[in-house]
Symmetry: C2
Subunit: 571 residues, 2 copies
């Protein structure tokens, strides 16, 4: 690995393995089989029972844990980047009569509250990614349920555009979480049943309280599945449906994919360093300082050159690293409650790269993928339960797409002046720049741009900001335009930032999580935003209630043959 | 009290006082002073420190508890029904330099989880009612903050259309819940700040983490208040703003209000009985059987007659009783987790009364009030954390507005046939009827009708149902039309209902609450629906977390001089 930026001395060794890694070698998937047949990919769930990501349970009945989902996420990414020829994806099981039994119950029962919540968040993001592939990538996922899909298994199917169920007088779809486990379906099930599949609420109520679920004609009539298919016609009908979906895809014919090589990463107890992204931990202060480095080197002048660069093309390389960092920090660094976000680089360079994305994302499949991948990575930030603070300092390059990083933060501080008193920073004053990217390329899950959320209902300001596109904006101007929270001068900067961070760290982590989850999403809601707001919040509540997780709770008693004992008071 | 229906023997005595009563004698308000001056009402908060609804705390600093809010709810209702001449309402404090310090912290610290959640729900409904009065009643509320409005005090102001703050160099608005108490503002504060007042999210973040809040010019610039007014100009400016608001009201001039007399109610350990509404408890089964009786007697043939009848006009009388029953059951009967909803009466009579509402709600203030009051009462059902099951049997009158009761339920069961085997019921088969009321008169908080939610996105079915208006619909037809969940025949009825109720009672109360809260609201969201979904769910979670409510939590440590100890892991 070569880096062109200086690597702090204490980050050059790797003496610490994080609890969860999101690295996946596709040649060594433990739980999935992926076969590309022409323009259709068959993605088969084939859980290795002994392959749990942590000890303590067996993944029976094709049930999954975080490790299974980490592989699934890898599958979705590789299909989009490495297999542009795939126009439809069939999600099915390699095991007969059993599609997937959902999240492993023993895993849930033994997991800490943060683990459960983080697990649900990541799986939700992966399900949303499946829908995103259909909506923006021309890769339509079809769930071919060759056996029972229960709980999270059915929720995985719900993320697909079509659900086909084998008609064998036993295979069913079900959401048994409420009746069997005393928790909610945790990956969007309730929301997708009523919002996406438009199942009547009384039927949804019956369905979600009946452990055996629904099958056959009723499953179709209730809109829980699209079709039930006799066993003898199963393979041919699934192939037909996939072919039809593939025929409607806008994917290019004959395109060659790029390779997503393993990420280069150095880490130790004090941080993680990638080529374009770094994170330095301050455990005493409970914070992590994230720096995203802007592009260096020549801007590709043709789309062919972008394809040649592939995973080395800066926007993609940086996004992959940022994505990995977000996931690692979320899973492994729970006590680092504040994320400081900085950028470093040249404003013009960043915008030059971005123009490539803007010009070609409508016509080139790879550039389109990169745009949507950065969009999804920004969305991860939006739902990250950490305080996000952007520090805009001299030498930063918060411009266009990178400015979205700042806008995703809870607050933005911009230095008015230069920092040269202690030699820490020198040079020009900090500047930010708006580009077209800030007005629609990277929508949030509520369907609004981050500027649209920031200035909710204030079309006049948005129109005014459009006029500022492409101009270097100083700290004082950024304050006037409402783009930053505060712009302390060089005399006040360090004290103000230090005090602000200390205050933040002193607040209740739970209250901050709840507050930020409310403030970040204003105005309209979508199915996706509702999954992260209403459903997730209720699930979090239920997860900490003794009726679910207490010693006599349903989650603990499941499989013991004994019934849960409930506090019957309704809250 | 006289009733025309039979009173079960065990309900004729009152041997039990519920923990919370919602009865209020306006002549004896302990915490509020209401002065009607021409077309403006001044509603002054003047908390009696020793007047807590339960022992254990003093209501210092004009802080409130459930009892204070029960009175405020009564104020809002009487202004609408008894004072039609009021066109603007000034909400202010009778105490100098102190508007309201919000919910009493010691009360919160000593309260059980269900009490806290129920308290927040009721206060939320009252705040929404204040907005409803402005939107639908021509009574615009103006918050005249003559002193500091902190926490719930500021949230009360946020429910008003305008917020005026005295400029005395000390009075401020603030939401100190996160920094001081480790919980969220519990009555819509975060949501209203960003959605209604459209405060930028970064400013909202600063504001909600800064105990001292904001005042003066900044409070206006940040849109936290509409105006700051010097002390010398305070009274006159407030009066001017009220006069301006009043001038814009569509309230009739010279109208005479009706009187809302105390509700007649009989209750004991086994139930509550009003004139038109009754509730029978089955504590072993964990359910309550609610029956709403349809109208009897002549239908008023003129609006004048409606005014003469006043609180005796059946739609209003029934709604008041149902409202009271919902509130009492929610507050006092936590273990009755399932509410069975029945109606009894004549379909034609119910519709005849309803036609009076339909014909005159656009032109007569009182009829308009009754419509919106029933709308608000139905909304209470929508957010009630109990399983709601409608049983549609022979002799019932689920027609038009009353059919909304069934549609608000999680499930609807309709008997196909008559029940005469054990003499329980005889006569004609059950029938339901749609009316215009079902297509817009009583919207849910998501802005959709209950039919619109039930058939979300299915305009064709809605159009088809419109054609069925005014026709008696049998059980079999209701099944075909999708209006009921199931229609067992007389042979299966009792067993099916019994088993269904037993199954329901066996499920986790928390999981049911979360599931129902998700299923009941499909599709679009409004500020109001978001307050009950996202904000409430997060708050519920935070309320049960040790960081807030544990022995070392912020809520317990507040005022002790000692700091809370937080589990710093972010979830």
């Amino acid at each position: 690995m070569t880096t062109t930026t200086e690597v702090p001395a204490d980050l050059t060794t790797t003496d610490r393995t994080p609890a969860v890694s999101f690295d996946v070698d596709p040649a060594a998937y433990r739980h999935w089989k992926v076969d590309v047949e022409g323009d259709v990919a068959y993605v088969r769930l084939d859980i290795d029972e002994t392959g749990g990501i942590v000890p303590g349970y067996e993944l029976k009945m094709n049930s999954y844990d975080l490790g299974v989902d980490i592989e699934l996420y890898d599958v979705t990414q590789r299909l989009r980047f490495e297999h542009p020829g795939v126009r439809a994806v069939v999600l099915t099981s390699a095991k007969d009569k059993n599609f997937c039994a959902g999240a492993n119950i023993r895993m849930l029962a033994q997991s800490s509250h943060p683990w459960k919540v983080n697990f649900c968040k990541f799986t939700n993001e992966t399900r949303n990614g499946i829908e995103d592939a259909g909506a923006h990538s021309g890769q339509t996922w079809i769930a071919a349920l060759n056996g029972t899909a229960a709980g999270g298994g059915y929720e995985m199917a719900l993320a697909c555009e079509q659900i086909l169920l084998v008609d064998d007088n036993s295979s069913a779809v079900s959401l048994p979480e409420v009746p069997l486990l005393g928790v909610l379906p945790g990956t969007g099930g309730l929301t997708r049943v009523i919002d996406k599949r438009r199942v009547r609420k009384d039927r949804a109520d019956v369905f979600a309280t009946r452990p055996e679920g629904s099958r056959g004609k009723q499953a179709v009539e209730w809109k829980l599945v699209d079709e039930v298919i006799p066993k003898r016609a199963w393979d041919s009908t699934v192939a037909e449906r996939a072919a039809t979906a593939a025929a409607g895809s806008n994917r290019p014919v004959g395109a060659t994919g790029i390779t997503l090589p393993p990420l280069q990463r150095e880490e130790d107890a004090d941080g993680i360093r990638y080529r374009h992204v770094s994170a330095v931990f301050d455990r005493d202060a409970g914070l992590v300082e994230i720096t995203v480095h802007g592009p260096e080197g020549d801007v590709p002048d043709t789309v062919d050159r972008v394809h040649e660069l592939g995973a080395d093309f800066w926007p993609l390389a940086m996004t992959r690293e940022l994505d990995d960092l977000i996931l690692r920090l979320r899973a492994n660094e729970l006590e680092l409650g504040t994320w400081i976000v900085r950028t470093k680089g040249d404003v013009e360079d960043a915008l030059a790269f971005e123009r490539v994305i803007e010009e070609h994302s409508g016509s080139d499949w790879l550039v389109n993928e990169i745009r949507h991948y950065f969009k999804r990575t920004l969305k991860r930030l939006d739902v990250t339960s950490r305080s996000l603070i952007a520090l805009i300092e001299p030498g930063s390059c918060f411009a266009g797409a990178l400015l979205e990083l700042a806008l995703a933060c809870d607050r933005q501080y911009m230095l008015d002046g230069t920092l040269d008193d202690d030699g820490a920073e020198q040079g020009d004053e900090a500047q930010i720049m708006l580009s077209n990217s800030n007005f629609g390329a990277f929508p949030m899950s509520n369907g609004l741009t981050r500027l649209g959320s920031r200035f909710y209902g204030d079309d006049e300001t948005i129109a005014k900001l459009r006029q500022e596109t492409g101009r270097r904006i100083s700290a004082v101007e950024a304050m006037d335009l409402g783009l930053v929270t505060d712009a302390p001068d060089d005399i006040d900067w360090s004290d103000e930032i230090r005090i602000m961070l200390e205050e933040r760290a002193s607040l209740s982590p739970d209250a901050l999580t709840g507050m930020e989850a409310n403030h970040r999403f204003v105005g309209p809601e979508t199915m996706e935003s509702r999954i992260f707001s209403r459903l997730t919040a209720w699930q979090n509540w239920i997860f900490v209630r003794p009726n679910a997780s207490g010693p006599e709770g349903a989650l603990r008693k499941y499989g013991t043959g004994r019934k849960a004992e409930f506090d019957r008071r309704r809250v």
